[in-house]
């Protein structure tokens, strides 16, 4: 390669490198037929005889920390009235979601299973009322309420008025490692 214009070569190389940088993958359609939340994702259970718990659902990695999924989850959180019981994480009719106490598990697949199936003590079951892609998006957003996601993936203000400061400006306390085997 000619070195007569080293600066232009360098510039072209940088542009090429930046163009291949993908911040995250956005899937508008999801995988409607194949996507099922494994129902074995129950709260931290005793698995008699097993040395380690079963591996995490691979789909969890796709939604965990994904900024567009979290933003969609924030929209659905308000639209589907999750905010009506859980407010902005403080709780009310529903439990607080911004603390580190999880009755039914705080991993993304456990939260998704809670939303899908409902739980005793009053969490409604959303199976059939939301698609599973939407449920995963909600679970990703719920994780951000307790500060468990990367700061650069967390969504800023929602589109509605709010008496609470935006998530990007609030200090969240992280989950204590002892509470769950897998995070």
């Amino acid at each position: 390669m000619s070195l007569r214009c080293p600066n232009s070569v360098l510039a072209l190389a940088m542009i090429a490198a930046l163009c291949s940088c993908d911040r995250e993958e956005r899937q508008t359609r999801g995988k409607p037929l194949g996507e099922t939340i494994p129902t074995v994702a129950s709260p931290d259970t005793i698995f008699p005889g097993r040395a380690t718990p079963p591996p995490l659902d691979p789909r969890a990695a796709q939604y965990e920390g994904n900024a567009s999924a979290i933003a969609e989850g924030q929209r659905l959180y308000n639209w589907m009235n999750c905010a009506g019981c859980h407010f902005h994480g403080g709780g009310g009719m529903g439990v607080a979601l911004m603390d580190d106490k999880w009755r039914y598990g705080g991993r993304i697949d456990q939260i998704a299973a809670s939303i899908l199936e409902g739980r005793p003590n009053g969490m409604p079951a959303w199976r059939g009322k939301l698609t599973e892609q939407q449920i995963w998006q909600l679970a990703a957003y719920v994780r951000t309420l307790s500060g468990q996601e990367r700061k650069d993936a967390v969504s800023a203000r929602a589109d509605e008025v709010s008496n609470t400061p935006p998530q990007t400006q609030t200090k969240r306390e992280p989950l204590r490692p002892a509470d769950s085997d897998q995070q």
Binding site: T28, R29, P32, G128
Partner: protein
């Protein structure tokens, strides 16, 4: 002047009549077309004079060979001074004329909008329009989506709001653009003068599907409008056969009811277009697809392929459910 302007506009535009800023079917747009014609004439005349002056100057320069040493290079033609005076007067008259024309256009628009007899509220969402006809009697409020019907000759006041980002309300045949800004209330006045079918469009970039956020506008006689309004007040038609009943059951208990509203049924969602009289509309998904059975199947089965990124999810319906849902939706006239 009017006919000249109209001829000009015919020459200028070749786009379809439904979304045509030179259509002049609304009072405000008609004013705009008139004003546009005035501006065109005045500016064309000015342009021609300036071009002529330029041509003359270049030609005269080529004729004479004056040099710096020649004392006569300061010589001004006898015609220069009066020409300049006439030119200045022409500019002044032209500008004043344009200003007065603008002023009268504004006054005319304000007068047209001063006594509205119909009131609507349009709330823009990403990427659809929520339309509500206001009424002093609360039980006579009509709510629809992505379409506006207007009686001809009746001035209408449209209150504009937004639920998320800035959009812009633009029905080119009837009036100019007005932004819908979250947290603020703006308004627009419409006074349609001719009946017809028109198309409105969101005119402020509002996200990934901004391009597919259109409005179907129907301007009709007062009697036809009253008939339409009375039909809109009715609850959704109940299912008439077993397939529609299956569709009704799905729509009112499953994913659809989380977001959509159909009056008279348990589906009461407020975050998506109202579907009570869905099948009577001309298009699906805010102008994205014309309303017909095939498009309806395609839309319900996989909205993300038609309008990727919009907020209606692809559910992954089983075939029988899809048939039932489309059968029910088609009946919601």
């Amino acid at each position: 002047m009017q006919r000249g302007g109209a001829y000009l506009s015919l020459c200028v535009t070749s786009c379809a009549g439904v979304q045509n800023a030179f259509g002049g079917q609304g009072a405000e747009d008609a004013n705009f077309v008139r004003l546009f014609a005035v501006f065109m004439v005045v500016c064309t005349v000015m342009y021609l004079i300036v071009s002529a002056a330029l041509v003359i100057a270049v030609w005269r320069r080529r004729q004479a060979t004056l040099t710096i040493e020649d004392r006569k290079h300061h010589e001004t033609s006898a015609a220069t001074r009066p020409a300049l005076i006439v030119w200045t007067v022409l500019i002044a008259v032209g500008l004043v004329g344009l200003t007065i024309a603008s002023f009268f256009t504004d006054r005319s628009n304000a007068a047209n909008g001063s006594k509205p007899r119909l009131s609507l509220t349009v709330t823009a969402n990403q990427w659809w329009w929520d339309v509500e006809y206001n009424s002093p009697d609360a039980s006579k409020i009509v709510r629809t989506a992505n379409e506006i019907h207007l009686p001809v000759g009746v001035p209408a006041q449209v209150t504009l709001k937004s639920n998320d980002v800035i959009h812009s309300f633009w029905i080119p045949n009837l009036a100019g653009k007005q932004d819908l800004i979250p947290g603020r209330v703006t308004d627009a006045q419409l006074l349609p003068r001719k009946t017809g079918l028109f198309r409105g469009q969101c005119a402020e970039f509002c996200g990934v599907q901004h391009a597919q956020m259109a409005l179907d506008v129907t301007v009709e006689s007062k009697a036809a409008f009253d008939r339409w309004y009375a039909a809109q007040l009715q609850p959704g038609r109940p299912p008439a056969n077993p397939l529609q009943l299956a569709g009704y059951r799905y729509v009112t208990t499953r994913e659809c009811s989380s977001c959509h509203n159909i009056s008279g049924t348990p589906a009461g969602g407020h975050v998506a277009p109202d579907l009570t009289h869905f099948a009577s509309r001309r298009s699906i998904a805010a102008g994205a697809l014309p309303m017909n059975r095939g498009n309806l199947y395609g839309w319900v089965a996989d909205p993300q392929s038609q309008k990727p990124g919009n907020h209606m999810p692809t559910v992954g319906l089983a075939a029988n459910d899809l048939h039932a849902i489309v059968a029910y939706l088609e009946a919601l006239k």
